[in-house]
Subunit: 225 residues, 2 copies
């Protein structure tokens, strides 16, 4: 039987991937970025077909990658990871630069950015795999370290949203691992689990002002599971 926990041993960073132009744009949190060649310098980015940003990348043929650091504001993950740009303009109020291709680049909590022009698009089932040639790349902040996905999961207690290539259904994961009897509450917004066995307080003892540590949803957004 496949041990799904082993998939968490693959190392990733976390990025905001954006596309669009000055008029319309969107971005999302991605962990699946890697360089595929050095002559020319090309990068691969994986993006769910359900993801609104996919539509912009396909239409505009460009995307930017902002490299997030370890102390990235939780609001960034909430906005770009768990909310859809179909409902509001994610880039409003953000510190945005427009690149050489006109693509928006988010600078908030970013230590570097890359700008790519799509040269290939591959259908890998539920996701698109975009291959982009590097147009520009700059460092913004020399002091902070890039955040890794394992740091986000282990230290920040963050979870992959459903559209992420690395999303793992928790019921499958728990069938794979030893389980203990406990009371758990799930955030209906982002899927975060408050497990009383691992916390100091029982869920009901938490103050009404308590918020989901991942997406900021209020206590009433949780259901007992």
């Amino acid at each position: 039987m496949i041990n799904l926990e082993s998939l968490f041993k693959i190392t990733y960073g976390l990025y905001i991937v954006c596309s669009g132009d000055k008029n319309r744009s969107n971005g999302f949190i991605s962990n699946t970025i890697f360089q595929v060649s050095s002559e020319p310098i090309q990068f691969a980015a994986c993006c769910s077909k359900n993801n609104y940003t996919s539509e912009f990348i396909k239409k505009q043929g460009v995307f930017s990658i902002s490299v997030l650091h370890k102390e990235t504001d939780a609001e960034i993950y909430t906005k770009f990871g768990y909310k859809s740009g179909r409902d509001f303009n994610k880039l409003e109020g953000m510190n945005v630069k427009y690149g050489k291709t006109g693509v928006p680049i988010v600078l908030n909590d970013s230590i570097a950015y890359l700008e790519c022009k799509v040269v290939q698009t591959h259908d890998v089932g539920t996701h698109w795999l975009f291959i982009g040639e590097l147009i520009d790349a700059q460092i913004i902040d020399e002091t902070n370290e890039p955040i890794t996905y394992s740091y986000y999961r282990e230290i920040k207690k963050g979870l992959a949203p459903k559209n992420a290539p690395t999303y793992i259904d928790k019921t499958k994961l728990e069938a794979n691992t030893e389980t203990t009897k406990s009371v758990k509450y799930e955030c209906t917004v982002c899927g975060y689990i408050y497990d009383e066995n691992k916390e100091e307080d029982s869920f009901l003892d938490l103050p009404d002002s308590w918020e989901c540590p991942v997406c900021g949803a209020d206590k009433e957004s949780f259901i007992e599971i």
Copy 2:
């Protein structure tokens, strides 16, 4: 001008990717592995067309990924990163398991492994991008952490070999960054630079038994640059 240093802000792990069967096989060090979908679980692996392992992956249609940990023996990087399996059998003497598809899986210094069956192959120029469906995945060692490419670069002073998708020509990199006048010696085997400005000893003062910290080549393999 593109700042090539920004490419080092992209986070990667380090893996041994193997292919072949019980009779003939090969493996190489890869940092470019990511999951591309969760239904079904699929992974992308990027591999130079010059890489001997590419031939096995294309022929056998399978590959394994062994996740290396932080304390991985330098000999592993030397053997799988800087030597060609065209010259000798890299898997001889290694702790190898054969997976469900018959693919060899290196267990030395690995904390987990994944076994994939190729479902798509994309030509991205100098490299192939293989998409593989996950056949098996297991954890071998719960105690060690996966090594990251930045840890390998900064702490272990390792460099990407020329076939790596993330290989950066040092002359280009130095044209990008502030340079100081110094005496440097380059390892002709792996490209490691001994920079006297950053070291306690001048190169000539090093003992004859001194070896390249990356690939283990002897002192005579270095040339002044």
